[in-house]
C-alpha cells in the first residue's frame, strides 16, 4: 500500500521552563514555574518537571501553584525569547526536508513518508528509518539548543501525538501498525483530542472509561458525542486520515492581561486595550494579514469570563481600528460594570491583506457614545 504514511510528532519538554533552566544554571533540578509570581495575580505559563510533581500545571492561577509548590521558583515569561528559540528549533526540523505542520510554539507534526523508506507493515523493521530520523532530530536539538524534545512516530497524527506524550520527557516512542490497537487500549478516553470534560463525563456515565472500552462498544457513539462519533470510533482504533497541513496559517492572534488588582479604571483599561491592539497589529503586519473579526475577553473578580465579538466588512490592519472596535464591544453591553480581573483582545478571520481598501480622510468619524 503506497498510501501508508509515516508521521512524526515532536513536542518540546516543558519548553518555557526548560529554556529558563538552560539559560540560568542555578535553576536546574529545581521546581521552576514560568508565569506571574503568586503574590501577584495571573497564571502559570509553564512548569518544569520538578514543579509538575507537586501538581503545578499550566493555566493554573499562580496563587494555587504557589500553594501546591511552596518552594517553586517563579520566573517571568520572556515570550519574545521563546519565539526566537522556537524559530531555531523549527529550522532544525526544516533541515530534514519533511512537510511540517507547526501546532504551536513548541510542537509540530512532520510527514516524513517521502524521506524514510517505510517498509511493509508487519515487518519487524517497520519505521526503522523513521526511528533513526527521530533520534537524529532529538540529538540535533539537544546539541544545538541544549533542550530536550519528545518524539512520537506512527502512521498518523492522532497516534503520533499520543506516542510523543507516552514517555515524556526526553522520550522517543514508535507505535507499529500491528500494535496500535493494543497501545491505545489502556489509555483513558480523555487522552483523545476532542474529548473534554463534558464528553468525558458523558462517556463515563455510559461505563466507557478507556479507549479499550470505546473499541469494544457495540453501539453508535453519536448518542454520546454527536457528530464526533464516527471520528471517535476511528481514533479508538488508531485510524486518522487528517493530512499534514503545511499551509498552516494563524487562525487567530490575541493578547490578554491579568491585572495586579481588579480594576474598572477607564484610563487603565483603555491603555491596556491600546497596548494589546498594537501588539496584535505588529503580528498582523509581520504576517501580512488582515482580520475580519475582533474579539474581547473579560474576566471579573469571581472568575466569570465573557467574550464578545464583532465582524467587519473590510479586513482590519490598523491598531486604532482594533482598539476602537474593542472599546465599542465593551461599551455596547456596558460590560465594565464592576472591576475586571483580566482583559484581552483577539482577532480572527485572518486573510492575506493583498489589496487594501483605503478610507476616506475623515478627521473624526462620529466618536463613541
Amino acid at each position: 500500500m503506497n498510501s501508508a504514511r509515516t508521521i512524526l510528532h515532536l513536542d518540546m519538554d516543558a519548553f518555557y521552563a526548560s529554556v529558563e533552566q538552560r539559560d540560568h544554571p542555578e535553576l536546574r533540578g529545581k521546581p521552576v514555574i514560568v508565569g506571574s509570581p503568586p503574590t501577584q495575580r495571573g497564571v502559570v505559563c509553564a512548569a518544569s518537571y520538578e514543579a509538575r510533581k507537586f501538581g503545578v500545571r499550566s493555566a493554573m492561577p499562580s496563587v494555587t501553584a504557589g500553594r501546591l509548590c511552596p518552594k517553586g521558583i517563579f520566573v517571568y515569561p520572556r515570550m519574545s525569547h521563546y519565539r526566537e528559540e522556537s524559530k531555531q528549533i523549527f529550522q532544525v526540523l526544516q533541515h530534514t526536508g519533511a512537510a511540517i505542520e507547526p501546532m504551536s510554539i513548541d510542537e509540530a507534526y512532520m510527514d516524513v513518508s517521502e524521506i524514510v523508506s517505510s517498509l511493509s507493515s508487519g515487518d519487524a523493521l517497520e519505521y526503522a528509518d523513521a526511528l533513526a530520523l527521530g533520534r537524529q532530530i532529538r540529538e540535533r536539538i539537544f546539541t544545538e539548543r541544549k533542550l530536550t524534545a519528545s518524539v512520537g512516530i506512527s502512521s498518523n497524527k492522532f497516534l503520533s501525538k499520543l506516542a510523543s506524550d507516552f514517555c515524556k520527557p526526553n522520550g522517543l516512542t514508535v507505535v507499529p501498525e500491528r500494535d496500535k490497537v493494543l497501545f491505545l487500549r489502556p489509555m483513558p478516553v480523555r487522552a483523545i483530542h476532542g474529548i473534554g470534560k463534558v464528553s468525558e463525563q458523558v462517556l463515563h456515565a455510559a461505563g466507557i472509561f478507556t479507549i479499550g472500552d470505546l473499541q469494544d462498544f457495540p453501539g453508535d457513539l453519536r448518542k454520546f458525542v454527536g457528530s464526533f462519533g464516527a471520528t471517535l470510533k476511528q481514533f479508538a482504533f488508531g485510524e486518522d486520515t487528517r493530512p499534514i497541513e503545511t499551509s498552516w496559517e494563524a487562525k487567530s492572534i490575541s493578547s490578554e492581561e491579568t491585572f495586579d488588582r481588579d480594576t474598572e479604571d477607564r484610563p487603565t483599561l483603555c491603555a491596556t486595550l491600546k497596548r494589546q491592539a498594537s501588539e496584535i497589529t505588529e503580528e498582523l503586519k509581520e504576517k501580512k494579514l488582515g482580520a475580519y473579526t475582533v474579539q474581547i475577553k473579560i474576566r471579573y473578580g469571581d472568575f466569570t469570563t465573557l467574550t464578545r465579538q464583532i465582524s467587519v466588512e473590510e479586513p482590519l490592519t490598523e491598531a486604532n481600528e482594533i482598539y476602537r472596535l474593542s472599546c465599542f464591544l465593551l461599551a455596547r453591553e456596558k460590560l465594565v460594570n464592576r472591576p475586571l480581573r483580566l482583559l484581552g483582545v483577539g482577532v480572527s478571520g485572518l486573510g492575506e491583506a493583498m489589496t487594501r481598501q483605503l478610507s476616506l480622510p475623515f478627521e473624526s468619524m462620529g466618536g463613541a457614545k
Binding site: I310, S359, S364, G366, K369
Partner: protein, 368 residues
Amino acid sequence: MNLAIAKDQIIHGLQAVQNVVSTRTTLPILSNVLLRAEENMLELTATDLDVTVSCSVEAAVKKVGSTTVPVKKVYSLISALTNPEIEFEVDDKNACSIRAGSSFYKINGLAAEEFPPIQKFKENKKITLPQEKLKSMLKKTSFAISTDESRYVLNGIFISLKDHKMTMVATDGRRLALVDEEVELGDTTGEFIVPTKAVNELSRLLSDKGEVEIKFTENQVAFALKNEKGASILIISKLVEGNYPNYRQVIPAETKERIPLVREEFLAALKRAEIMTSDKANSVKLHFTKNNLAITANSPEVGEARESIAVNYKGKEFAIAFNPAYMIDPLNALSCDEVYLELIDELSPGVLKTNAPFLYVVMPMRLS
C-alpha cells in the same frame, strides 16, 4: 369594535406596516398590530419602538374601537381567506372574531392601551416636497449607508435643510454619496440622521405621485404621505443620536482628470469584470491610456477579465483600483446617460458626478 372591510384593503394595510415588526422581540405587544376603527376607516399601526408605521384604509365601521392582534397570524390567515369581504368583531376581552363567508376564526389579542403610544409632532418644523423627489434622493444615497454597527452615526442618511435646499449624505467611511435638491423650505432649517430601517421603509412606501410631508423634532422625524392606492401612511422614526462627521472635508477640492463615460456601458463592463474577482482579490483596475479605458480583474483562483471602452482621455497613462461594488452601486442607482469620473492619482479619492446635483466620492484600493 365592529367592522366590515374588503380583503384587498386590509391586506394592503397589513403589507404596509408589518415589515417593521421584529421577529425577535421580548415584548409580546410588539408582535401585534394596533387596529383602530374610526368612521369609515381602519388604521393599522406596527412598531419596533424605533420605527412606527401606520396605514389607514377604507372600512365600513359599525362600531368604533381598537385592539391589537398578532400581525403574522392575522396576515397569514387573511391572505389565505378567499371571501372578498371580511368582518371583524372584537369583544371586551380583546378576542377578535373574523368572519369571511363560511370561515370563522377567533384570534386572541391584547388591549390597545398596552400598545406604545404614538408621539405627537409640533407644527413648526415642517416641509413638503414631491414624493418622487424624496424617493429619488434616497435611491441615490442609501446604498452608501454603513452597516458597521460600531459606527452608529453612519447607520443612516444625514439630511440637512437650509438655503432652499435639501441635502442628503450617506457614507460608510470608504465611499460617500451626496445629493441636493431645491425644496420649498419656508422658514424651516435643520439637520438630522434618519436611521437605516426608516430609510428602507420610506423607500418602500413612497410612490411617484403626490407629496410627502416631513415633520421633525430634536429626536424624531415623521413622514406623512398617500400611496398610489390612496391609503394614508405615516412613518415615525427615532433619529440617530450624535454628530454626523464633517463630510465636506473628504470631498476633493479639485481634480486632474475628468473623464466622461456612458453610464450603461461602464456599468455593464464593471459587472462583467466583477465576476472574475474573489474574496482575496476583490478589486478591478481602471487603466487609462489615450482614448481608452481598460477594466481588468485578476484573481489567481478564478481567472481574469479585460474590458476595453473608448473614452475621451488625453492625459498620461494611469491606473487605479477600486472595489467593483463601490462603482457599480452608484451607477445602478443613477438613471442618466452620462457620468463623469474625476481622478487625481492612484491613491486619492475618485469622484463620480452627473449633470444633476449628485456627487459620489470613493476611495481606491491599494495593491500590494
